[in-house]
Amino acid sequence: MSSHESFDDLEARLLDLGASLDVPAPPPADVAAAVRTRLATGATPESASGTAPEPAPEPAPGTAPGTAPGTAPGTAPEPAPEPAPETPAPKPAPELAPEPARKRRPARPGIRRRRWTVVVAVVLAVVAVTAATPQGRAAVTAILRYAGIELRLGETPAPVITPTTLPGEREVEPRRLGSLVAFTVRTPAALGPPSAATVGDDGRVASMFWPDGIRLDQFDGTMEPFFFKRLGPPHPQDVPLGTTTAWWIGGSHPLGYIERDDGTSVPLRQAAPTLIWQSGAVGYRLEGAGTKERAAEIAASLR
């Protein structure tokens, strides 16, 4: 079958082997019905991401319908935010399973969660804001989700005046940090050991602090978004980081926290320029490094 040599015994054996492989698949009619159910609540190809399906059953950000695939900025109802065309690969962005998918497959409760892993880790998923409140609709033109952080892009937001700490945030000995959270805590070699550390939200986030105002948050980046950031222009810039892409948010911006139970957005404080990225299941945000280059250098030194 290769163009430059005759079909030989090995190729025949490979074809025979392929034919004998057992690949389990559900009945095609079931797949078709599941796909149809999902599409029925979504959009037609022409109006792709523009149509708002039925109101989301819960106003949590994770259920915002009408996800616009990252490779089709032309079909998005609004101009796609800057980072979309620069996502790591020219592939359709994975998107959330709308409710019906979950209803149809009660035996596999992990699916939605696992999809989230895909969502946050692969590319920035661009979500047209259709389920937001009227106020939200006016101020936010697009939401990007990456590494457990939801970026709400829109007009330049008013700064957060009264800083708040994360729920349950408490100071811990830096060397004990690793034993207090469910994921592996890493330290940037470029900065050395932190001078202080905190754990927040029942071990969902670990934070390290250095004397010159640098703060590194590490958090479970696989589930629902954990932090949100409200951003006006300029939009985030991509920064190559090893085999992945980090995003640099160059201006000071309101940072908040998304409550696990009901998705309520809790403003925390005005954050300095920040680099965000993900490695494995952990999301990172590095704040206070000053420049994009310095932040990338620190990020690359995580051990």
């Binding site: 490979l14 057992d22 690949v23 797949v31 149809r36 999902r38 190809p45 359709p92 399973a97 590319v123």
Partner: protein, 179 residues
């Protein structure tokens, strides 16, 4: 209803027509996802791919075949899944029951054939990723070189060279029994 008619009706919003397309390509899509490394998440990958294909249907060129266009989305989804897991794609397929009953009146011969298949499968599994993907597409999925190039989003030359290197490596690995 052929593919083109089903696509035309799907574009007009006819979900029944799209359902027919999904039914037609479901098995192949699952096979592609599983053999390219989606493992036990092939079902999720396929459902996602069909939803995405529908949403992107307007970008499909009607004069081109639907099959490789769809399989490329499946391959993308599989690739994205593995990348998000930070894992290498693996060929997890097992030899099917059909291998066992190939020659029911010749148990010894069947056992030998099964053993040969198992060893070849093992050798394919151990190929470097690109070579394995090329071999899987060309022989296990029986795609043409051009289709393979489209599905994997590689240049045609890369398909040819990866297939060639993969076959050469397989000949080295299981060469003795080919003689």
């Amino acid at each position: 209803m052929d593919d083109d008619e089903a696509i035309g009706r799907s574009l007009a919003g006819d979900l029944s027509a799209y359902e027919a397309l999904v039914t037609r390509y479901s098995a192949l899509a699952h096979r592609t996802a599983a053999l390219l490394g989606a493992g036990d998440e092939a079902e999720d990958v396929v459902q996602e791919a069909f939803v995405k294909a529908f949403r992107h249907l307007s970008s499909f060129r009607r004069d081109a075949p639907f099959r490789p266009w769809l399989l490329r989305i499946v391959a993308n989804e599989t690739h994205n899944l593995n990348r998000s897991r930070g894992r290498r794609s693996e060929l997890t397929a097992r030899l099917g029951a059909t291998a066992e009953v190939a020659a029911p009146d010749d148990p010894a011969g069947t056992a030998v054939a099964t053993d040969r298949r198992a060893r070849l499968l093992d050798a394919v599994r151990r190929l470097p990723e690109r070579e394995r993907q090329a071999v899987v597409c060309r022989y296990f999925l029986q795609l043409s070189e051009a289709e393979t190039a489209q599905v994997l989003d590689w240049p045609l030359g890369t398909v040819k060279s990866s297939t060639h290197r993969g076959l050469a490596r397989l000949r080295e690995g299981v060469g003795g029994e080919l003689a």
